[in-house]
Symmetry: C2
Subunit: 715 residues, 2 copies
């Protein structure tokens, strides 16, 4: 009766059959240990062209050559229906990390994602602030897809009929080992474009692959010294006078403060904004900015890029804006010369020129309703999707240019980034507020080539306030963003002393943080990073387990679980934050001897320990031989040219070596060689005693180190 349908079908299929074209990639080694290939016809606009990232060639040369890390014949490309299908091999024991700033998971093998710039929506599905299409294998290599499209990722989930390692079909009726997720031997990706560049980053270790990726993207940013101090964001409707008072209160109470963030009310209108100072609240912006600078406090301005019809430049920028508006505000097309120039000139002339130190760039990520739709068109000819994936990169790039032109470093906040954005001096933040997941994001930021702040916004209790402050002290940017809840650092009486101690600790550790950032910039090593990037953490420990009694030693379980609540901070520190309500917690120590940061006491070696630190302490551990340069606590970062005394702490039983970074702390002159690394050595003497030394300063290089004292913590 329905036979006619069959005939119609045969006709349909004859017409619709899609051309499937397989392609063998041709790999070119573009930098040592970095290979590029072109799948299909790559688009001209991609993540690297949007970001303008330039490789740090010398640093990459130093890393040297390694063999191509995976089997080329197992990399597969198919061009289907105007889209590009990519496949990369996975070995049985291989783990996969990355695919952007995820908040709940670290291990990505077994996950399906669609990489899409967006506000994080409480699910690791690819929608996040920096959905970097880069993954790192536990086997010590990385893969980067340089496409400004929404990429579908099947990370070890898709199973092919022609797989050389096919899973066994099991009978669910009777087989208790049946699983809905049979073994898959590959990462597959769908790039919805006719082609894409693909990059492979060699190791040999996962950290090496991350370093090559970061260096290829220009290395991490080197913040100004003041960027590592504390920042406080003030109420959106504060006037200049209110801000003055706030700064004064910090000073009177003895809380360090390096920069203040002004929220929407500095503008005459916001959402959409005028990008002009409100004449009522800030009648004399130039004078006020200078006055604050004189006190050692910089101003950071909240903006989003959507332009109020009442902005003075609204009419002139209109032709260079999107077809669609955001809250009835114009959306500038930063890929048109004029759109970019008009917008950033406004920032440059009325803000950067008068001394503003940086920006907090909001709402460039989305949450869909808060952005243009994908059907928006742009004068540059780019699509809504391409702009969505790269808008965060563009605002970082061109706003940094404003500061670079003045040879003044900046350090700000942004809500969206992507592959290619590693070098920008911006830290990602959002409106999510789960303390534990903030730490997981901090871990994942090291695989995504971005920085992330677990900012402190509000707390139900003093305990929570303190616990969050402790985490933020051991993070890329020490930010209190509690203007909405009107909580001050000292609001909780019961923990005020502890909070202040933490503020001061951040300041004391500035030489360490600054040196570690320098290593991010010059060597590509993320200052805050996943345990899995730490040698001795993963594979070696597995071996240990086999000889032990699992019932007595929960270690095997510990390494099989995702480690989502502890991380490495700089070369030597392992940080294990406490969360509200916790009285004790487990910490997984990598192989090697570890010491308590506060006391220098030995705590363990390649094992799971339980710590009960009390309220005043965030558990921090130092690797054997660890060296932490510190300074006396201060209210502001050292000024340009100011010399500061250093206290060098040494931990453990091994000798140690540390490269202390130094430059002027404020300009880009380091790019022209105006910096030095000074070698700190701790030698082991007889009787378990130690002796420290520091190499003399290089001549004609910035030198901010005053007296050096020594503290051997483990004696």
């Amino acid at each position: 009766m329905k036979l006619y349908k069959f005939f119609i079908f045969c006709i349909i299929l004859g017409l619709s059959a899609t051309d499937i074209k397989a392609q063998n990639l041709s790999w070119e080694e573009v930098e040592p240990g970095i290979w590029k290939a072109e799948a299909g016809e790559p688009e001209v606009y991609d993540l690297l062209s949007a970001s303008g990232a330039k490789p740090r060639k010398k640093a990459l040369e130093k890393m040297g050559n390694v063999p191509f890390p995976i089997s080329k014949k197992d990399i597969n490309v198919q061009l289907v229906d105007g889209e590009t299908y990519l496949r990369f091999p996975l070995e049985q024991e291989e783990e996969v990390y990355g695919f952007g700033l995820n908040f709940k998971t670290v291990h990505q093998r077994g996950r399906i994602l669609r990489l899409h710039v967006d506000h994080y929506g409480d699910e690791d599905n690819g929608r996040t602030h920096a959905p970097t299409p880069f993954y790192v294998s536990s086997k010590g290599y990385g893969v980067f897809i340089n496409s400004a499209r929404y990429i579908d990722v099947y990370a070890g989930t898709a199973v092919r009929k022609d797989s050389e390692h096919p899973p066994v079909a099991r009978d669910r009726n009777t087989d208790p080992d049946w699983t809905s997720r049979p073994y898959s031997d590959s990462v597959e990706l769908l790039v919805p474009a006719k082609g894409t560049e693909v990059y492979i980053f060699g190791g040999p270790t996962p950290l090496d692959a991350v370093r090559r990726y970061n260096l290829f993207n220009g290395g991490g940013p080197l913040p100004p010294r003041w960027g590592l101090g504390f920042t406080q964001r003030v109420h959106r409707m504060y006037s200049a006078e209110d801000v003055r008072q706030e700064a004064k209160e910090f000073e009177e109470r003895g809380y360090p403060l390096d920069f203040i963030g002004l929220e929407p009310g500095w503008q005459s209108k916001s959402y959409p904004g005028t990008l002009e100072w409100d004449e009522g609240r800030f009648p004399e912006p130039r004078k006020f900015t200078q006055e604050m600078l004189d006190k050692g406090i910089r101003l950071n301005l909240w903006i989003n890029p959507y332009i109020s019809p009442d902005a003075q430049f609204a009419e002139s920028i209109e032709p260079f804006t999107s077809s669609h508006t955001v809250w009835a505000g114009l959306v500038p097309d930063f890929n048109t010369d004029k759109g970019r120039d008009i917008f950033f000139s406004q920032l440059g002339e009325t803000q950067v020129d008068i001394g503003v130190s940086g920006y907090k760039i909001d709402e460039v990520d989305g949450y869909d309703h808060w952005l243009w739709p994908d059907v928006a068109t742009f004068p540059s000819g780019l699509t809504g999707e391409q702009m969505r994936q790269t808008y965060g990169l563009l605002v970082q790039r061109y706003s940094e240019d404003l500061f670079e032109e003045k040879n003044r470093r900046t350090f700000g906040l942004v809500r969206a980034s992507n592959g290619g954005g590693t070098s920008f001096p911006y830290v990602i933040y959002n409106d999510y507020y789960d303390h534990q997941n903030f730490i997981t994001a901090l871990i994942n930021s090291s695989y995504a080539g971005v920085l992330w702040t677990p900012e402190v916004r509000a707390s139900e209790t003093g305990e929570e306030w303190l616990r969050r402050v402790q985490s933020v002290v051991f993070s890329p940017m020490a930010m209190i963003n509690a203007w909405s809840s009107e909580t001050k650092p000292w609001s909780f009486d019961e923990v005020e002393r502890e909070v202040k101690e933490m503020f001061l600790l951040r300041m004391r550790m500035m030489p360490y943080w600054y040196s570690e950032y320098a290593k991010y910039h010059f060597k590509g090593i993320p200052p805050f990073r996943a345990m899995n990037l730490e040698e001795g953490f993963h594979s070696e420990l597995k071996k240990e387990v086999k000889e032990k009694n699992l019932a007595k030693n929960p270690y095997e379980e510990a390494i099989r679980q995702e480690i989502k609540d502890q991380y490495m901070a700089g070369k030597y520190l392992l940080v294990a934050p406490m969360f509200e309500g916790q009285k004790s917690r487990e910490v997984v120590l990598p192989k090697g001897r570890w010491y308590d940061f506060y006391t220098g006491d030995y705590v363990g070696n390649g094992e799971v320990i339980t710590v009960t630190p009390g309220l005043d302490n965030i558990p921090v551990f130092v690797k054997d031989g660890g060296i932490i340069p510190m300074m006396t606590p201060r209210m502001h970062a050292p000024k340009l040219g100011e010399k500061v005394d250093i206290e060098v702490r040494h931990y453990g039983e091994k000798a140690g070596r540390y490269m202390l970074y130094d430059d002027d702390g404020e300009t880009y002159d380091y790019e022209d060689g105006e910096y030095q690394f000074r070698e700190i050595c701790v030698k082991k003497l007889e009787n378990k005693r130690f002796e420290g030394s520091i190499s003399p300063p290089e001549k004609n290089k910035p030198n901010t180190v005053g007296n050096v004292s020594w503290k051997f913590m483990t004696q």
Copy 2:
């Protein structure tokens, strides 16, 4: 310093600028009140070609012509970057419904969705079992996008710079009326393909638009009479003997039962399956099936389409399967003749031929991990995306063909459908289990051209069990699917009597349900549908409010809220389910007088009433003049040719008229005219008394009506 970047950029943009092509659509009236246009170059494979849907031309002719319902000049098409952008106008007061089987929301204006066949993941984001690209406007028209692609929908959220109704920019600093979602005057859609067919369905009412859509897709399915009885699904590892016992227990306890569902264990292997009877559990399938048929009980078989390597036909079908496997099972390409033939021949020859009555077709929706990836390729040349969007349609279509060839109706279950699938005799189900959201899905099914069952699976308490049974009795398929929890209908002693009463009520109402399904088939009226499709519910009630005191009458709020927990069942019934823990609930009555279903008492008119029904009652209300034909309760649906006595109930104070449908109840002969509608009339006499009559049966047409008695409920 970074000036060179600008230059690079200019070059890039010159190359990448995308061609944006606007198109004026040319509308062709393909059926009365239905217009088609081709945006761009529509693809050959789409939802309608996949489903093979054929319009019910005569019924559409009867509906007659109406003017094109929206302003053609406000329909906008742009072809951008190989994709199709569509825009349709929205008036200020216009509401939008549909976009598939949503579970939490009814009003879709203000939502952003990506229509994607998938298991429902607890969020109305477009991922659902039937993401039908069809929406219905409160202004009385519908729009259907006939594309088998993942479509992005901006339902009144995107705002254009060139809008003729632009929202006002507001200053968030100071304006309390600021909103993150300014007024948008259009529905915009992104179809990721070079073109698509677009259909507009005229009204004048929203229900008319829905009817035209349904009739265009072949009208709703007409289930066999037995499909409206009870169905029980039995434990997956039950043997023929166990099934026999289960049927016997239903009989002994006096619970009606029309078909039994066999879960995976009827097959020798499952997930992936052999689609062969397990010789141990079902040694004589033909004999067993016949034995059950003799008892008036049919068998429905669970399957999914993924083929075990141990299936006898695995080798022969292998060339016609996807590149990727599901649980190591082959994925047949039903768009190849051979793949389709081999697969469905197996079902036909070993199951349908021996009397199996239908299927429950599982896992054709996804949840990603449970399906092929979008990078899968298929021998027919269709993409993973196209197959994902249509696989549910294909399995429904070709499995129904098996039954149609034998001139036997079927009524089964499926986990995925889409636009074009209206006529298939399948009810959608899933693994989600929120009772309230199940009701919301039932409401939305009427906008999606599908049927949905709020099946009963398990309950914590007797109360919950009873409340769920009550809902399922007033739903498209009365299914108990509690094999996993091993709950039997009579498991909760404290509500056993009430549960049984409900079972019997379902059977008594069979003449009503059957007639209402006939109206779905012949007239396109969904048997279970949203309140918003009921005249007098929405706009008229709004007027009422203006004269009333809002503080005393919460009505305005009630109509502004989404009505997500009550629905229309057939022509006359308003059902307001109770949920566990509720002692009372509010019910919004449309304008007109309403009566209690059980007592005939007047309850209200165009107002919000509060009901406190007690455990044994699900609140059901009948429209003034409502006529409900019922029969005596029985254990099975009437057999072919069997006559049944009818009791006609009349409610309210108005005279009434009802079209009672009749046919043989089992074959497709109704498609050749072998059916009749008999007119039931209730006249109003003096003294508030009534008199009923029924038109005589047509000669040579099936007639299953025995004696007719009358019950005037409101006296």
